[in-house]
């Protein structure tokens, strides 16, 4: 797979923030797994919305309100197409992945999980796909189970038959690990969940903006994503829920927008997705997410995945060949991020060092504390790439890492 058909230089030029110096050095932004940068097209869409169309949605009978409503619902359609959902009614706007998972745990989980049931997770989950289930387990008396992670950073699928038993009501797992870069076999896992009558929940925070995600092909029941990791603003995300499952899921938050009629003692609720969107939503955020989806589609996620892949393979190869005392954590076959430890420097010290040369890395436990404990690591340093990064930036990172290895030894 090559990504030669795209003019990557022109694409990079779409990101105003990348063209600056940090502490006298050109910025190298290798922290897109934490939050991606935004192209001018998305920033402009926000400005345009606020300068021309801003009003509340689904409420006013006036012109601006209908424009805002149209823009909001158009964004929902775009996200539905982006994920190949069967219908836009399967897309709920959220604040991000964390809220999406909490929605499933609270609304669906509280209704359908009982004492004696089990919730299956994996050992590589981000805290946002762990803590909501701990809360649900505490509330309901259900137990938590975990698919182990092997030394090489992949899931130990040989354990699946003994873990994924009929007591399991929910199997929730990440598509891509944010610290290891592991890409999990989502379709297989969803199929296995369905076979025992469990619903599947996919954390797509790291995947949605990086590779083609087709919810029907994956066969998942829920899938959560964060806009800010895929070129959209912060504070907006989406939760896909398969129609059949959403239909039987009770409301999440109560308030305006989600009701059909209200009397003092009782209300009736709208259908999905509005049942799950109480209160004035993040309209501008949704418009921005729609613009981000358009932008990513104009490049093509196949091309993005191929470009990310080239960068990560190049980084891996150069780190191993040219930086002394470095150990890369996670599988060879990885998404566009590389976690590593340097013998002579703690991840925080390395991150501080890199920052002084304009290189933005992430250092720490990456919201994966149990996983770090398992690998007996105090944390890792992580370089995460996106399609606006270049091999020249990786070359500069290598020089900085070489100097750091000398500095700290």
């Amino acid at each position: 797979m090559t990504s030669d058909s795209v003019n990557w230089e022109a694409v990079r030029a779409d990101f105003p923030i990348l063209h600056q110096e940090v502490r006298g050095n050109p910025l190298i932004y290798f922290d897109s797994a934490a939050s991606s940068q935004k192209p001018r097209q998305v920033i402009d869409a926000l400005t345009r919305y606020y300068e021309h169309d801003n009003a509340n949605v689904h409420r006013g009978l006036h012109e601006l309100s209908s424009r805002a409503t149209d823009a909001f619902e158009a964004a929902r359609n775009k996200v539905a197409k982006f994920l190949n959902a069967a219908s836009a009614d399967e897309i709920i706007f959220t604040r991000g992945t964390t809220e999406g998972i909490n929605l499933v745990a609270q609304a669906y989980g509280t209704r359908y999980v009982k004492e004696g049931d089990a919730i299956l997770l994996t050992e590589m989950e981000h805290h946002s796909n762990l803590v909501p289930w701990q809360l649900l387990a505490e509330r309901t008396g259900a137990s938590l189970r975990f698919v182990p992670v092997l030394e090489d950073g992949t899931l130990d699928l040989s354990k699946l038959p003994e873990l994924l038993t009929p007591e399991v009501k929910i199997f929730s797992f990440t598509h891509i690990s944010n610290s290891l870069g592991t890409v999990n076999p989502v379709a297989d896992l969803c199929r296995a969940a369905r076979a025992v009558g469990a619903i599947s929940v996919v954390d797509a925070a790291q995947s949605a903006g990086h590779l083609p995600v087709d919810v029907q092909a994956l066969g998942c029941d829920f899938l959560a994503l964060s806009g800010h990791k895929m070129c959209a603003p912060t504070g907006i995300g989406a939760l896909y829920g398969r129609a059949e499952v959403l239909e039987k899921t009770p409301p999440y938050h109560g308030g305006g927008e989600m009701i059909v009629s209200v009397s003092l003692h009782k209300s009736t609720y709208k259908e999905a997705p509005h049942r799950f969107e109480a209160g004035t939503p993040n309209i501008a955020g949704a418009v921005g997410l729609g613009a981000a989806v358009d932008y990513l589609e104009s490049i093509g996620r196949q091309n993005i995945a191929a470009h990310d892949g080239e960068l990560v393979r190049y980084a891996q190869q150069r780190m191993e060949a040219d930086v002394p005392g470095i150990r890369i954590i996670g599988p060879r076959d990885r998404s566009g991020l590389v976690g590593f430890v340097m013998e002579s420097a703690h991840p925080h010290d390395l991150t501080t060092y890199a920052d002084r040369y304009g290189l933005a890395l992430r250092g720490g436990h990456h919201c994966n504390q149990p996983l770090m404990k398992k690998f007996k690591l105090p944390g890792t340093s992580r370089a995460s790439f996106y399609f606006y990064n270049t091999k020249e930036e990786i070359d500069r990172m290598i020089t900085i890492l070489q100097e750091a290895a000398r500095f700290f030894s």
Binding site: H346, H348, D349, Y353, Y357, G364, P378, G379, I400, F407
Partner: protein
Amino acid sequence: MIPNSDLEELYQQVLLDHSRRPRNFGELSEADATEAGEKVVKVQGDNPSCGDEIVVSVKLADTGLKLADIKFTGQGCAISQASASLMTIKTKGRSRAEVEELIAAFHDLITKQTENPPDILGDLQLLQGVWRFPQRVKCATLAWRALEQALREGSASVVTTEVEG
């Protein structure tokens, strides 16, 4: 690459040496309080944003008025480890009042530019470079916050509590 003077000031060889071979590394136990008026207090300090962990144990004598002994264990970055190591050296054997004075002076040293640091700080001045790295102040103060908590809790015989750095 051009050497960066902020980094060189922060990561001096002596500091890196403390982080690699921390002094007074270990734990005190109840059995270490042998005399009347002595007690051992342990406090765990956590920096939840980065996962650094430190356990500071102190032996208070003279019904809490003197810090007779101090040790620490833990893992973390060079700054948190070196800061803990230097802290044990500078506070061991001091009166409670002196330790409190050190805590305050140290906090000033690493949070703002200080022209003439007070003499009492001694080797702790190695950490002066931290003030240019506001994100790392938490690392430098982790052990100190645990010590402060230990002083506050000098009442029960063995106390184990946690503070967040």
